[in-house]
């Protein structure tokens, strides 16, 4: 029975548990998000530990509502729990206001749950950084949510193993006039840059939302077409 917080300050003013959680994120499979003028794309590595794994059963990009989805880098089960919590938050908002929740609002409310895990007794911080992508009334959004509960809006970003290199690559490639198709290509190129081994339609996952406000996770056949275009 623990009433006391497990995450406590070090003498240097750091919360080591959060730092360690960020280490777990940094070891995770790379995920990339790019916000275009008219949409957002999420691309994530889905490398499996063995060829025996049923690739189609692994879902790394999860729909939170029709127009918002998320992916992650870090501990898969922690992401699963947060995604489910996010879905409940969306529904709670929907029941109260019968209105499409804004991406910023959802991010803020989910961030509250993540922060609680850094301060409440007996529980550890979540070991994931989440990328939330959505298209609401205000337009396209890309938000990163860290284990500390801090959240940042990005034009383009990467999390996980290749985050540093990918972000450097993106800094050169990104421009504010990008359309969603350019963004998808750029995201795939960025992932390919640091990819260990051969990139295939089944060892990555791609999710796209355009100005129709409908988030779609691309089937392998469509991913194949985009990958071929890169050649």
């Amino acid at each position: 029975m623990t009433d006391f917080a497990l995450t406590t300050f070090s003498s240097k003013g750091k919360l080591l548990q959060i730092e360690y959680a960020l280490n777990a994120v940094a070891k995770g499979d790379t995920a990339i998000g790019i916000k275009a003028k008219n949409g957002v794309v999420l691309v994530v590595e889905k490398k499996q530990s063995s060829i025996l794994v049923e690739e189609s059963s692994v879902q790394k990009v999860s729909l939170l509502t029709d127009n918002i989805a998320a992916t992650y880098a870090g501990l898969g089960p922690d992401f699963r729990v947060l995604a489910q919590q996010a879905r409940k938050l969306v529904k709670k908002y929907d029941l109260k206001y019968q209105e499409e929740i804004f991406v910023q609002t959802l991010s803020r409310e989910l961030a509250e749950d993540v922060q609680v895990a850094t301060q409440r007794g007996g529980i550890r911080p979540f070991g994931v950084s989440i990328l939330i992508a959505g298209y609401d009334e205000e337009g396209p959004h890309l938000v990163q949510l860290d284990p500390s509960g801090a959240y940042y809006s990005w034009k383009a970003t990467a999390i996980g193993k290749q985050a540093k290199n990918a972000k450097a690559f993106l800094e050169k490639r990104y421009n504010a006039d990008m359309e969603i198709e350019d963004a998808i290509n750029t995201a795939l190129l960025t992932l390919k840059e640091g990819f260990e081994g051969q990139i295939t339609p089944t060892n990555i996952e791609v999710g796209v939302i355009r100005d129709d406000h409908v988030f779609r996770i691309l089937p392998p056949s469509q991913v194949k077409d985009y990958l071929e275009e890169l050649e």
């Binding site: 029941l95 109260k96 206001y97 019968q98 209105e99 804004f102 609002t105 803020r108």
Partner: protein, 204 residues
């Protein structure tokens, strides 16, 4: 206590016009047969483009209004934007249902303009929302006001016509109801402004 909804008395009415809406209420605050004041506010401006009218038990009118004010203020601060009238209309329904087994003894009417389009919604005391009609009534004089509305109302009236019709309907209704009256207030909301007019009813 013959009817908790009849204890304080009072009537409200809401109407849709062409790119405008109107709300009217009486001014009586009574306790059964006794009249306490003749300037009780029953229509509230929730936002520049949303009006909330409440009839029923006055203490609940006051409390429910305060609750809605709090909700919209927090929403404005949290979401950093104004609330849409349709969203507010849904919020009222949720807030009423939250007290399903210990309800607010009020029957609200919400009226607003969303991108110029008139919005009107009415509820029972436990949050059943109805947004299908062009005019709605509430309170002890409601049924009397209905009669006048049915006779005078026509769709797509301009603000001046709407003000006249809703005013006449309210007055006809309140003059026939013992528990409503002692003056009326008419609010007409257009994209540009909100006009408030005080009417005389039978002083009884």
């Amino acid at each position: 206590m013959s009817g908790i909804f009849e204890y304080n008395g009072g009537s409200i009415v809401g109407m849709k016009g062409k790119n405008c809406i109107a709300m009217a209420c009486d001014r009586r605050f009574g306790q059964q047969m006794s009249t306490i004041t003749t300037n009780y506010q029953k229509v509230f401006k929730i936002q520049d483009n949303i009006l909330l009218a409440l009839s029923g038990l006055n203490t609940d009118i006051h409390t429910f209004y305060a609750l809605m004010e709090k909700e919209i203020n927090l929403y404005n601060l949290k979401e950093n934007r104004k609330m849409k009238p349709t969203t507010f209309a849904n919020l009222v329904a949720s807030a009423l249902y939250e007290r399903r087994f210990g309800p607010f003894f009020v029957t609200p009417i919400v009226a607003g303009l969303e991108n110029g389009k008139p919005i009107l919604a009415t509820y029972d005391s436990i949050g059943c929302k109805s947004d299908l009609d062009d005019f709605q009534v509430g309170g002890t004089g409601g049924n009397y006001i209905y009669g006048a509305c049915e006779a005078f109302f026509k769709p797509d009236m301009n603000p001046e016509e709407l003000e006249e019709v809703i005013g006449q309907s309210l007055v006809s209704g309140c003059d026939r109801d013992a528990l409503s009256g002692w003056g009326g207030v008419v609010y007409v909301l257009t994209e540009q402004k909100l006009t408030v007019k005080i009417l005389k009813t039978k002083q009884t």
